[in-house]
């Protein structure tokens, strides 16, 4: 079995990053948007792991960072979902296009 090299992993993580961003830009549903953000965060996780493993195997910063990111992502998601629920209460919708009252 061929070991994936750093670049392959970086490619994947970058692709994931942009997929996440693309999702963030194009989705209408707030939950999906939130999921896209999670994709971005996960791509970062991949990055950290990969760098840690391939470049700086004896410094564990990357791994720790990943763990913290996962935790933070959870907190963020929790808050975000709470907010979205509240938005749903007031707007009767979780479509991002319905929450564009404030502009200019």
């Amino acid at each position: 079995m061929i070991q994936p090299g750093l670049y392959q992993i970086l490619f994947i993580s970058t692709a994931l990053f942009f997929i996440g961003i693309y999702g963030f830009f194009t989705r209408r549903n707030l939950i999906t948007i939130l999921m896209s953000v999670e994709l971005v965060l996960n791509s970062v996780n991949l990055n950290f792991i990969a760098f840690n493993k391939y470049l700086w195997p004896n410094r564990l910063d990357g791994v720790f960072f990943t763990i913290f990111i996962i935790a933070i992502a959870a907190a963020e998601a929790a808050t975000a979902i709470a907010i979205i629920i509240n938005l749903y209460r007031s707007h009767q919708s979780i479509d991002v296009e319905n929450a564009e009252e404030m502009k200019y």
């Binding site: 961003i21 963030f24 953000v37 760098f51 840690n52 720790f64 960072f65 709470a82 707007h91 404030m102």
Partner: protein, 465 residues
């Protein structure tokens, strides 16, 4: 161990207060009014305590560090929070979830403290999130207002997005240098494209927090939708803390790339000032107006940051201190009027002077300070930012900055004009202020006048390095 407790004194104190509030919340025995007085008292204590027993030091292998300057920065933030607790009493007394509000607020403050003190990108990231996520919840605090939840949504999504960007940047920094520590990073930086790219990502995340063009777009909407207290917190405390850590990041960590970031800061500063001013020009809603004006103010802070010298740090800290007074005063007046009579439009302020001269004078002082008109402290603040920025002898930059002061004066004068000059058949009726609000405003007014005229304040900040 003892030493650690003293070094982390500010953070621990806040944690204690948070827990205290939690217990009070469980007890459920207090009315809003007495609770508010208690909170104000605690905030005052917290603020006063900030001046004593400050010990510089490093903790957790450099993850956390503090010093006189950082302690002073924390004091500024404490002062801001204390003023918030005073100035927005109108709104607090109506609020059903006062304790939660302060718990969340203090959590964010805790995050900011840790952020200022952080010595590692990991620590920085964690504290940044701690400083952000509770604020998103706070933004939603007017639970029944559509605008409030919209603002919170925009805030949380935008900051999640920016977190992603930040993290991606950090991961690249890690990949390129193998370290996340602020101490070790500078030695590894050599300006290769990957590092530049990583720096751009990091910079963008900072810029997002600081509302620097073109990463500022969330600001106005969030400010407008959130409760005024939250807006004030966002625009003053949050901006202040991020600019402090931004200073550390640029001056210490990314010092080897200073030519790069000087140009970046310059370009974005010009863009920020111009855009902020141009948008502010048109605003009718006073909160939105203040949002854009604070964007423009941030552009000025960038001018000071661009100096890359001791003076840069001092003048930014000094400016933030003044900014706390001025902007909070402005928001205080806004809040009183919006929560008493529900008016937030500049046009509706017409003829205010006939009925509420005190509010008008406070507002005028605040706006003059923001515009940089002597004898208010804002004049000195802005001037020192410009002076610091001018040390590179970049005349174009400074002229643009100086001309932007005029542009900003134009819209500040619009509010002044509405209050003092324009006639109104039915001006806002006379408002009787709560003592705490009055106290807060008086403190702000005194601060606005004296911070500038007492020149040792600046010299003191300068001596803290």
């Amino acid at each position: 161990m003892n030493e650690m407790l003293i070094i982390m004194k500010s953070e621990l104190l806040i944690t204690i207060i948070i827990f205290l509030l939690l217990f009070i919340k469980l007890g459920k025995g207090m009315t809003n009014d007495s609770l508010l007085i208690l909170v104000q008292f605690l905030m005052l204590l917290n603020f006063i305590a900030g001046f004593f027993f400050n010990l510089p030091g490093n903790l957790f292998d450099g993850m956390y560090h503090t010093g006189p300057l950082i302690a002073f920065q924390k004091n500024i933030l404490n002062l801001g929070v204390y003023l918030i607790s005073l100035l927005f009493a109108d709104w607090f007394r109506k609020s059903e979830h006062l304790t939660e509000f302060f718990i969340l607020l203090l959590s964010a403050l805790l995050g900011m403290f840790l952020m200022i003190s952080s010595g590692n990108l990991l620590m920085f990231f964690l504290s940044l999130e701690l400083a952000t996520i509770p604020v998103a919840a706070l933004a939603n605090f007017d639970l029944d207002k559509k605008k409030s939840s919209e603002a919170a949504m925009k805030f949380i999504l935008s900051s999640a997005f920016s977190s992603g960007i930040l993290l991606f940047g950090i991961s690249m920094v890690y990949g390129a240098t193998g370290t996340l520590s602020f101490e070790l990073l500078p030695a590894q930086l050599n300006g290769n494209p990957l590092q530049v790219l990583a720096f751009v990502f990091l910079f963008a995340a900072f810029a997002f927090k600081l509302s620097i063009v073109p990463f500022h777009l969330w600001t106005a909407d969030v400010y407008e939708g959130s409760p005024v207290a939250v807006t004030a917190f966002l625009s003053v405390i949050s901006k202040g803390s991020v600019s402090f850590i931004f200073l550390t990041a640029l001056y210490k960590v990314f010092q080897p790339m200073n030519e790069l970031w000087y140009n970046m800061v310059m370009i974005l500063s010009i863009a920020t000032m111009i855009t902020g001013n141009l948008f502010a020009l048109r605003q009718q809603n006073i909160k939105r107006f203040l949002a854009f004006s604070s964007i423009a103010q941030l552009g000025f802070i960038l001018v000071g940051i661009s100096s890359n010298a001791l003076e840069g740090t001092s003048s930014v800290v000094y400016f933030v201190l003044i900014y706390v007074f001025s902007n909070l005063a402005a928001f205080g007046v806004t809040s009183v009027i919006s929560s008493r009579v529900g008016k937030e439009n500049i046009d509706e302020y017409r003829g205010l002077y006939q009925t509420n001269p005190f509010l008008c004078w406070v507002m005028a002082l605040a706006l003059f300070s923001l515009a940089g008109i002597p004898p208010t402290a804002g004049f000195f603040g802005k001037l020192f930012l410009l002076t610091a920025g001018a040390s590179k002898a970049n005349y174009t930059f400074i002229i643009i900055a100086a001309l932007n002061m005029i542009l900003s004066l134009y819209y500040y004068l619009k509010v002044i004009r509405a209050m003092f000059m324009e006639k109104n058949e039915k001006p806002i009726e006379k408002i009787r202020l709560y003592p705490s609000v009055k106290l807060g405003m008086v403190i702000c007014a005194i601060g606005i006048i004296l911070t500038g005229l007492l020149s040792w304040v600046f010299d003191y900040i300068q001596s803290l390095h």
